[in-house]
Protein backbone atom coordinates (compact mmCIF):
# COMPACT_ATOMS: atom_id res chain seq x y z
CA UNK A 1 0.00 0.00 0.00
CA UNK A 2 1.54 3.26 -1.08
CA UNK A 3 1.48 6.18 1.30
CA UNK A 4 1.34 9.73 0.00
CA UNK A 5 4.55 11.13 1.37
CA UNK A 6 3.73 14.81 1.02
CA UNK A 7 0.35 14.51 2.66
CA UNK A 8 1.83 12.79 5.65
CA UNK A 9 4.42 15.50 5.99
CA UNK A 10 2.19 18.54 5.82
CA UNK A 11 0.43 18.17 9.19
CA UNK A 12 3.83 18.26 10.83
CA UNK A 13 4.80 21.35 8.93
CA UNK A 14 1.67 23.24 9.89
CA UNK A 15 2.14 22.64 13.59
CA UNK A 16 4.05 25.15 15.69
CA UNK A 17 7.75 24.50 15.91
CA UNK A 18 8.94 23.10 19.21
CA UNK A 19 11.29 25.27 21.21
CA UNK A 20 14.75 24.24 20.23
CA UNK A 21 17.71 24.70 22.50
CA UNK A 22 20.61 22.91 20.84
CA UNK A 23 22.89 21.21 23.31
CA UNK A 24 25.87 22.53 21.42
CA UNK A 25 26.83 26.20 21.76
CA UNK A 26 25.70 28.00 18.64
CA UNK A 27 29.23 29.17 17.96
CA UNK A 28 30.51 25.62 17.45
CA UNK A 29 28.03 24.72 14.70
CA UNK A 30 29.07 24.91 11.09
CA UNK A 31 27.22 27.49 9.06
CA UNK A 32 25.09 25.03 7.13
CA UNK A 33 23.97 23.19 10.27
CA UNK A 34 23.10 26.50 11.92
CA UNK A 35 20.98 27.50 8.92
CA UNK A 36 19.11 24.19 9.10
CA UNK A 37 18.45 24.60 12.81
CA UNK A 38 17.31 28.19 12.47
CA UNK A 39 14.96 27.37 9.62
CA UNK A 40 13.47 24.31 11.28
CA UNK A 41 13.07 26.16 14.57
CA UNK A 42 11.39 29.10 12.92
CA UNK A 43 7.84 29.63 11.81
CA UNK A 44 5.73 30.01 8.73
CA UNK A 45 6.82 29.54 5.15
CA UNK A 46 10.54 29.37 5.90
CA UNK A 47 10.02 26.45 8.24
CA UNK A 48 7.66 24.67 5.86
CA UNK A 49 10.20 25.09 3.08
CA UNK A 50 12.99 23.72 5.28
CA UNK A 51 10.84 20.75 6.24
CA UNK A 52 10.22 20.05 2.57
CA UNK A 53 13.96 20.12 1.85
CA UNK A 54 14.65 17.94 4.88
CA UNK A 55 12.11 15.39 3.69
CA UNK A 56 13.78 15.28 0.28
CA UNK A 57 17.11 14.67 1.97
CA UNK A 58 15.70 11.91 4.14
CA UNK A 59 14.00 10.32 1.17
CA UNK A 60 17.27 10.19 -0.73
CA UNK A 61 18.95 8.56 2.26
CA UNK A 62 16.14 6.04 2.68
CA UNK A 63 16.15 5.19 -1.02
CA UNK A 64 19.89 4.69 -0.86
CA UNK A 65 19.57 2.29 2.08
CA UNK A 66 16.71 0.32 0.52
CA UNK A 67 18.60 0.12 -2.76
CA UNK A 68 21.80 -0.93 -0.99
CA UNK A 69 19.96 -3.87 0.55
CA UNK A 70 17.94 -4.67 -2.57
CA UNK A 71 19.82 -7.85 -3.46
CA UNK A 72 19.02 -9.34 -0.09
CA UNK A 73 15.32 -8.53 -0.38
CA UNK A 74 13.84 -11.03 -2.83
CA UNK A 75 10.44 -10.72 -1.17
CA UNK A 76 10.05 -7.09 -2.25
CA UNK A 77 8.23 -6.23 -5.45
CA UNK A 78 9.08 -3.29 -7.64
CA UNK A 79 6.90 -0.64 -6.03
CA UNK A 80 7.68 -1.84 -2.53
CA UNK A 81 11.13 -0.30 -2.57
CA UNK A 82 9.92 3.24 -3.03
CA UNK A 83 6.97 2.68 -0.73
CA UNK A 84 9.31 1.62 2.07
CA UNK A 85 11.63 4.53 1.35
CA UNK A 86 8.74 6.97 1.54
CA UNK A 87 7.51 5.52 4.83
CA UNK A 88 11.04 5.62 6.22
CA UNK A 89 11.51 9.24 5.20
CA UNK A 90 8.16 10.23 6.70
CA UNK A 91 8.89 8.57 10.04
CA UNK A 92 12.47 9.84 10.07
CA UNK A 93 11.21 13.39 9.50
CA UNK A 94 8.87 13.14 12.48
CA UNK A 95 11.70 11.73 14.61
CA UNK A 96 14.16 14.42 13.56
CA UNK A 97 11.73 17.23 14.34
CA UNK A 98 10.97 15.70 17.72
CA UNK A 99 14.68 15.41 18.58
CA UNK A 100 15.91 18.66 17.10
CA UNK A 101 16.93 19.91 20.54
CA UNK A 102 19.19 16.88 20.96
CA UNK A 103 21.43 17.84 18.05
CA UNK A 104 24.85 18.49 19.60
CA UNK A 105 26.69 19.61 16.52
CA UNK A 106 29.20 16.78 16.81
CA UNK A 107 28.67 16.12 13.12
CA UNK A 108 27.09 18.09 10.32
CA UNK A 109 23.33 18.38 10.65
CA UNK A 110 22.80 16.51 7.39
CA UNK A 111 24.97 13.65 8.62
CA UNK A 112 22.99 13.52 11.83
CA UNK A 113 19.62 13.38 10.09
CA UNK A 114 20.88 10.77 7.62
CA UNK A 115 21.13 8.30 10.47
CA UNK A 116 17.44 8.68 11.21
CA UNK A 117 16.53 7.72 7.66
CA UNK A 118 18.94 4.79 7.60
CA UNK A 119 17.59 3.53 10.91
CA UNK A 120 13.96 3.80 9.83
CA UNK A 121 14.71 2.06 6.55
CA UNK A 122 16.54 -0.75 8.32
CA UNK A 123 13.69 -1.27 10.80
CA UNK A 124 11.07 -1.32 8.07
CA UNK A 125 13.05 -3.75 5.94
CA UNK A 126 13.47 -6.09 8.89
CA UNK A 127 9.77 -5.94 9.61
CA UNK A 128 8.91 -6.56 5.97
CA UNK A 129 11.23 -9.55 5.90
CA UNK A 130 9.25 -11.16 8.71
CA UNK A 131 5.82 -10.08 7.54
CA UNK A 132 3.44 -13.05 7.31
CA UNK A 133 6.17 -15.39 8.46
CA UNK A 134 5.73 -17.68 11.40
CA UNK A 135 7.93 -16.62 14.30
CA UNK A 136 9.98 -19.54 15.58
CA UNK A 137 9.51 -19.55 19.34
CA UNK A 138 11.08 -22.94 19.95
CA UNK A 139 14.65 -23.83 19.05
CA UNK A 140 14.69 -25.76 15.76
CA UNK A 141 18.11 -27.01 16.56
CA UNK A 142 20.89 -26.00 18.85
CA UNK A 143 23.52 -24.05 17.01
CA UNK A 144 27.02 -25.32 16.69
CA UNK A 145 28.63 -22.58 18.70
CA UNK A 146 32.17 -23.87 18.45
CA UNK A 147 33.91 -21.75 15.84
CA UNK A 148 37.44 -23.02 16.13
CA UNK A 149 39.26 -26.27 16.37
CA UNK A 150 38.82 -27.60 19.87
CA UNK A 151 40.91 -30.00 21.81
CA UNK A 152 39.02 -33.03 23.15
CA UNK A 153 39.02 -31.44 26.60
CA UNK A 154 37.70 -28.13 25.33
CA UNK A 155 35.06 -29.90 23.26
CA UNK A 156 33.91 -31.83 26.31
CA UNK A 157 33.76 -28.63 28.37
CA UNK A 158 31.72 -26.82 25.74
CA UNK A 159 29.36 -29.74 25.34
CA UNK A 160 28.83 -29.75 29.08
CA UNK A 161 28.16 -26.02 29.07
CA UNK A 162 25.70 -26.24 26.16
CA UNK A 163 23.88 -29.13 27.79
CA UNK A 164 23.61 -27.21 31.04
CA UNK A 165 22.43 -24.13 29.16
CA UNK A 166 19.74 -26.12 27.33
CA UNK A 167 18.56 -27.60 30.62
CA UNK A 168 18.53 -24.18 32.27
CA UNK A 169 16.49 -22.68 29.42
CA UNK A 170 13.98 -25.51 29.78
CA UNK A 171 13.82 -25.56 33.56
CA UNK A 172 14.74 -22.15 34.94
CA UNK A 173 12.76 -19.88 32.64
CA UNK A 174 9.05 -19.27 32.54
CA UNK A 175 7.24 -20.25 29.36
CA UNK A 176 7.09 -16.74 27.98
CA UNK A 177 10.66 -15.89 29.00
CA UNK A 178 11.80 -19.00 27.15
CA UNK A 179 9.90 -18.05 24.00
CA UNK A 180 11.26 -14.51 23.98
CA UNK A 181 14.83 -15.63 24.62
CA UNK A 182 14.71 -18.40 22.02
CA UNK A 183 13.08 -16.23 19.36
CA UNK A 184 15.53 -13.36 19.74
CA UNK A 185 18.81 -15.00 20.66
CA UNK A 186 18.65 -18.41 19.00
CA UNK A 187 16.33 -17.85 16.05
CA UNK A 188 17.41 -14.29 15.20
CA UNK A 189 13.93 -12.78 15.22
CA UNK A 190 14.45 -8.98 15.33
CA UNK A 191 13.26 -7.56 18.61
CA UNK A 192 11.13 -4.90 16.95
CA UNK A 193 9.40 -7.59 14.89
CA UNK A 194 8.56 -9.59 18.01
CA UNK A 195 7.42 -6.41 19.77
CA UNK A 196 5.06 -5.61 16.93
CA UNK A 197 3.63 -9.14 16.91
CA UNK A 198 2.99 -9.02 20.66
CA UNK A 199 1.70 -5.45 20.54
CA UNK A 200 4.29 -4.42 23.07
CA UNK A 201 7.44 -2.32 23.31
CA UNK A 202 11.07 -3.17 22.69
CA UNK A 203 11.81 -2.05 26.23
CA UNK A 204 9.41 -4.59 27.70
CA UNK A 205 11.08 -7.36 25.71
CA UNK A 206 14.55 -6.17 26.72
CA UNK A 207 13.46 -6.36 30.33
CA UNK A 208 12.29 -9.94 29.84
CA UNK A 209 15.55 -10.83 28.07
CA UNK A 210 17.54 -9.29 30.90
CA UNK A 211 15.60 -11.23 33.52
CA UNK A 212 15.97 -14.47 31.55
CA UNK A 213 19.72 -14.04 31.19
CA UNK A 214 20.08 -13.28 34.88
CA UNK A 215 18.20 -16.48 35.73
CA UNK A 216 20.31 -18.54 33.35
CA UNK A 217 23.54 -17.10 34.72
CA UNK A 218 22.45 -17.86 38.28
CA UNK A 219 21.40 -21.40 37.36
CA UNK A 220 24.68 -22.14 35.59
CA UNK A 221 26.71 -20.63 38.41
CA UNK A 222 24.81 -22.76 40.91
CA UNK A 223 25.79 -25.78 38.84
CA UNK A 224 29.44 -24.85 39.12
CA UNK A 225 29.77 -23.43 35.60
CA UNK A 226 31.68 -20.18 35.38
CA UNK A 227 30.60 -18.02 32.45
CA UNK A 228 33.34 -15.42 32.72
CA UNK A 229 35.54 -15.42 29.65
CA UNK A 230 39.17 -16.33 29.56
CA UNK A 231 41.75 -14.50 27.49
CA UNK A 232 40.67 -16.26 24.32
CA UNK A 233 37.12 -15.06 24.77
CA UNK A 234 35.74 -18.51 25.46
CA UNK A 235 33.82 -19.54 28.52
CA UNK A 236 35.79 -21.31 31.16
Amino acid sequence: MRRPAVDTVRPVASEPAPRVAPASPAGTLDAESRRWLEALSGTGHARDEAIGRLHELLLRAARFEVSRRRLGLPYLRGGDHDDLAQQSADDALVAVLAKLADFRGESRFTTWVYKFALYEAAVKLRRRAWQDRELPLEPDSWPDIASRALSPEEHAAESELLGALRDAINDALSAHQREVLVAITLNDVPIDVLAERLNTTRGALYKTLHDARRKLRARLAAGGLDLTSNDAGHPR
Binding site: R197, L198, N199, T200, L205, T208
Partner: protein
Protein backbone atom coordinates in the same frame (compact mmCIF):
# COMPACT_ATOMS: atom_id res chain seq x y z
CA UNK B 1 0.80 0.29 32.57
CA UNK B 2 1.38 0.97 28.94
CA UNK B 3 -1.74 1.54 26.87
CA UNK B 4 -1.32 0.59 23.25
CA UNK B 5 -3.00 2.41 20.43
CA UNK B 6 -6.14 0.74 19.16
CA UNK B 7 -5.28 -0.63 15.76
CA UNK B 8 -7.03 -3.65 14.30
CA UNK B 9 -4.44 -6.25 13.40
CA UNK B 10 -4.33 -7.90 10.00
CA UNK B 11 -6.22 -11.22 9.90
CA UNK B 12 -2.97 -13.17 9.86
CA UNK B 13 -1.55 -11.24 12.80
CA UNK B 14 -4.80 -11.54 14.73
CA UNK B 15 -4.81 -15.29 14.15
CA UNK B 16 -1.18 -15.57 15.27
CA UNK B 17 -1.96 -13.67 18.46
CA UNK B 18 -5.07 -15.76 19.09
CA UNK B 19 -3.10 -18.99 18.76
CA UNK B 20 -0.41 -17.65 21.09
CA UNK B 21 -2.97 -16.88 23.78
CA UNK B 22 -4.71 -20.24 23.44
CA UNK B 23 -1.36 -22.02 23.65
CA UNK B 24 -0.65 -20.05 26.83
CA UNK B 25 -3.90 -21.16 28.44
CA UNK B 26 -6.58 -18.65 27.42
CA UNK B 27 -9.88 -20.14 26.37
CA UNK B 28 -10.90 -19.58 22.77
CA UNK B 29 -13.59 -16.99 23.47
CA UNK B 30 -11.35 -14.84 25.63
CA UNK B 31 -8.43 -15.18 23.22
CA UNK B 32 -10.63 -14.09 20.32
CA UNK B 33 -11.94 -11.10 22.26
CA UNK B 34 -8.50 -9.97 23.33
CA UNK B 35 -7.02 -10.15 19.86
CA UNK B 36 -9.98 -8.71 17.97
CA UNK B 37 -9.25 -5.04 18.56
CA UNK B 38 -5.47 -5.10 18.78
CA UNK B 39 -5.49 -3.10 22.00
CA UNK B 40 -4.05 -5.40 24.61
CA UNK B 41 -0.32 -5.85 25.12
CA UNK B 42 0.12 -9.62 24.66
CA UNK B 43 3.56 -9.60 26.21
CA UNK B 44 2.23 -8.14 29.44
CA UNK B 45 -0.60 -10.69 29.41
CA UNK B 46 1.85 -13.55 29.08
CA UNK B 47 4.13 -12.10 31.76
CA UNK B 48 1.18 -12.02 34.16
CA UNK B 49 0.39 -15.65 33.32
CA UNK B 50 4.02 -16.56 33.95
CA UNK B 51 3.60 -15.16 37.44
CA UNK B 52 0.60 -17.36 38.08
CA UNK B 53 -2.18 -14.93 37.27
CA UNK B 54 -5.29 -16.64 35.84
CA UNK B 55 -6.02 -15.65 32.21
CA UNK B 56 -9.36 -13.99 32.97
CA UNK B 57 -7.83 -11.84 35.71
CA UNK B 58 -4.85 -10.93 33.52
CA UNK B 59 -7.27 -9.76 30.85
CA UNK B 60 -9.16 -7.63 33.36
CA UNK B 61 -5.95 -6.12 34.72
CA UNK B 62 -4.77 -5.08 31.29
CA UNK B 63 -8.13 -3.97 29.93
CA UNK B 64 -7.96 -0.33 28.79
CA UNK B 65 -9.53 2.00 31.30
CA UNK B 66 -11.48 3.99 28.73
CA UNK B 67 -13.43 1.12 27.21
CA UNK B 68 -16.31 -0.69 28.89
CA UNK B 69 -15.42 -4.15 30.14
CA UNK B 70 -16.72 -6.82 27.84
CA UNK B 71 -18.78 -9.54 29.43
CA UNK B 72 -16.72 -12.56 30.25
Amino acid sequence: MRQTTAQSPTPALGEWRRRRLIAAGFDETLAARLTRDGIVDLHELLVLLDRGCPPELAARILAPLDTPAAPS
